[in-house]
Symmetry: C2
Subunit: 251 residues, 2 copies
């Protein structure tokens, strides 16, 4: 199974520590990795179809303190589509003058949507097809960028149509909100003051969050499996959508 990780924060925050936790799981997920960082409306997008354990790009990401509002990362174990750069998540498209980023964990069976509008897959994955269909349907539902609440409403109509085709754990962002759809396995964590020491689940690496944060910080992390020990990771119930804005859950 692929591994997903997302971050949504009130103020720009780095995810080096969490990404290091994710990358240690890359031994079973050797078919590439990708990570997208929003800085305001701008986006940095790193993808590599080599394992995060050996990629110079992954090394850069682990040591480069990019401070970001929203991050989406994915470590791939190919189920559909060959191992190639164009099949590496997360995928990016532009809609309503905003970049949208999407990563998926799961498998959609017999999913062949009619893609008649402006969004076409470049690679061969079911995931990119699902993303293109989502963008197409969002564009049909709203002429311009609507409020986040309206987007939640539209996504709650669209996502079950994808979920019914199989497993659809998903992270989606436009640089403002982070949408996390649970299908089988997805957890989230809210970091709020008082901030303490946290330790990675799979390594003896720990950081003092208090030294890296202020009282104003609010950070939400989403991941396939809990990445740390001693923090409260909450499972996202199958078939539900969680929305994070400013580092807090909206609903």
């Amino acid at each position: 199974m692929c591994q997903l990780m997302g971050m949504n924060a009130r103020r720009p925050t780095d995810v080096m520590f969490s990404f290091a936790g994710l990358a240690t799981r890359a031994h079973e997920h050797k078919d590439g990795f990708g990570i997208a960082f929003f800085e305001g409306r701008g986006l940095r997008h790193f993808v590599d179809h080599h394992s995060a354990r050996v990629s110079p790009l992954a090394e850069l990401v682990k040591t480069y303190p990019i401070r970001s509002d929203v991050v989406i990362a994915h470590i791939r174990k190919a189920t559909q589509g060959v191992v190639s750069l164009e099949n590496t998540h997360p995928f990016v498209r532009e809609l309503w003058g905003r970049y949208w980023v999407f990563a998926h964990n799961g498998d959609l069976k017999g999913f062949a949507p009619r893609l008649h509008a402006a969004f076409k897959p470049v690679g061969q994955t079911d995931s990119e097809q699902a993303f293109c269909w989502l963008m197409q349907e969002l564009a049909k539902a709203h002429a311009n960028m609507p409020a986040i609440e309206e987007l939640n409403h539209t996504l709650r109509e669209l996502l079950p149509q994808l979920n019914r085709h199989g497993t659809f754990n998903m992270l989606l962002s436009n640089g403002q909100a982070l949408w996390a759809h649970g299908s089988t396995r997805l957890h989230y964590l809210l970091r709020r003051p008082p901030f303490g020491h946290v330790t990675l689940q799979d390594e003896d690496l720990s950081v003092d969050l208090a030294a890296k944060t202020t009282e104003d910080d609010r950070i939400a992390i989403v991941a396939t499996e809990p990445l740390t020990r001693g923090e409260t990771w909450v499972p996202i119930e199958p078939g539900t959508l969680k929305v994070f804005l400013g580092g807090e859950p909206l609903c």
Copy 2:
């Protein structure tokens, strides 16, 4: 003035040497840099709104032998739009199931196209507006990906409409061809056997191309200013479009 660089090769080739030559010019162009690498249909896209002289990303690009079919790079000196990540070239959009990459050097005055279709700028530059308009007009002219010759024909109708608004030196690619439009300053170079030693214009760095290439290689390089000494750089005549495919000029 910003600096452009493009590469189109018959077989995947690295541009570390040429990029190093471009990056040494970054002292006057401190407002960010970007570089996009096509590998087949896939794309790596690195952007940074910090100068290429200090960016860890630029350092990675100079030392990471990414072998690519087409590369477009840009070093920015802001004329329109603030210095921010979303205003950093090259820009990327998807059209007809292919990524398209665009970088521009120049200034378009009073350019306010009607963007009524699926391509909207994320940042505030005239360049991204011009790119969105180009994508919109290409999408209107062809329902699906046409042959390169047909694209050349359409682009020769569209590009003068942009050029008339000011300075429009431009590089565009879909991962197959590299389109280079000259407006004031743009040069190209064809590397063919026999390959010899070449030396960077601004540094005493030289490489033996023969050691890095085979008899089958054909490589076209486009740049604002000649990057090397001892090679034949040809100016692109103002108002003309050069097209490179498989490392050779098409016309």
